[in-house]
């Protein structure tokens, strides 16, 4: 099989670490209520820098988790990856359309952007992990019969 472009396996743990690091950063952000300052609107304002830092940490973390190589990549895993990705895209667009229909023009579109950033990746990671879990469980069942 042709090799697919994926990150090395250890990137999954790096991604998980980045994702976990972004949670306390968000907590600090929320607890100090930094984005309530109306005069603070520049490119390098505290709120914008915090927003960028949390978003970049979260998205790059999820991205690395989602697209790191399994220990053995073969065509079946490639197929599972592809079908999980398809469902993630379906879910993302369904949620996006519902959000667009049920929000009016006064809504903060930054929230929609944020939603759109993590929904496909999280859906993909959950679906793909579940499929891999089921695949591995079929193997342990097989071992159970063999004993």
């Amino acid at each position: 099989m042709k090799p697919q472009f994926l990150f090395p396996t250890w990137c999954r743990w790096l991604g998980l670490a980045l994702f976990l690091v972004h949670l306390p950063v968000i907590l600090i952000f929320k607890s100090y209520d930094l984005h309530s300052d109306p005069n603070d609107a520049g490119m390098f304002s505290v709120s914008h820098v915090f927003f960028v830092v949390t978003i970049v940490l979260m998205v790059s973390g999820l991205f690395l988790i989602a697209f790191s190589r399994e220990r053995i990549e073969d065509e079946q895993i490639y197929q599972l990856r592809l079908s999980s990705l398809r469902w993630a895209i379906f879910a993302n667009y369904a949620i996006l359309i519902v959000c667009l229909v049920f929000t009016n023009s006064k809504a903060d579109y930054k929230d929609l952007l944020r939603l759109n950033l993590w929904v496909p990746l999280v859906f993909f990671i959950v679906l793909f992990s579940y499929k891999m879990f089921r695949l591995n469980r079929s193997l342990s069942k097989e071992d159970g019969y063999a004993k």
Partner: protein, 68 residues
Amino acid sequence: MGMQNSLRVERAIKNITQAELAELIGVSRQTINTIESNKYVPSTVLALKIARVFEKPVEQIFLLEDGD
């Protein structure tokens, strides 16, 4: 699924495990296992590789089910 195979039998004749076969053709053991239990249909390339391990034509290992 419209295909059946005699992979398990062929493996028994050659006396190799799922893990050994998986390593020979460079796939995961899960894939061999799901092929054997007819849950996964391998690509032509993979079927040819398996056939080469057993030194048999593909049709002797993978068969279409009746009515397909």
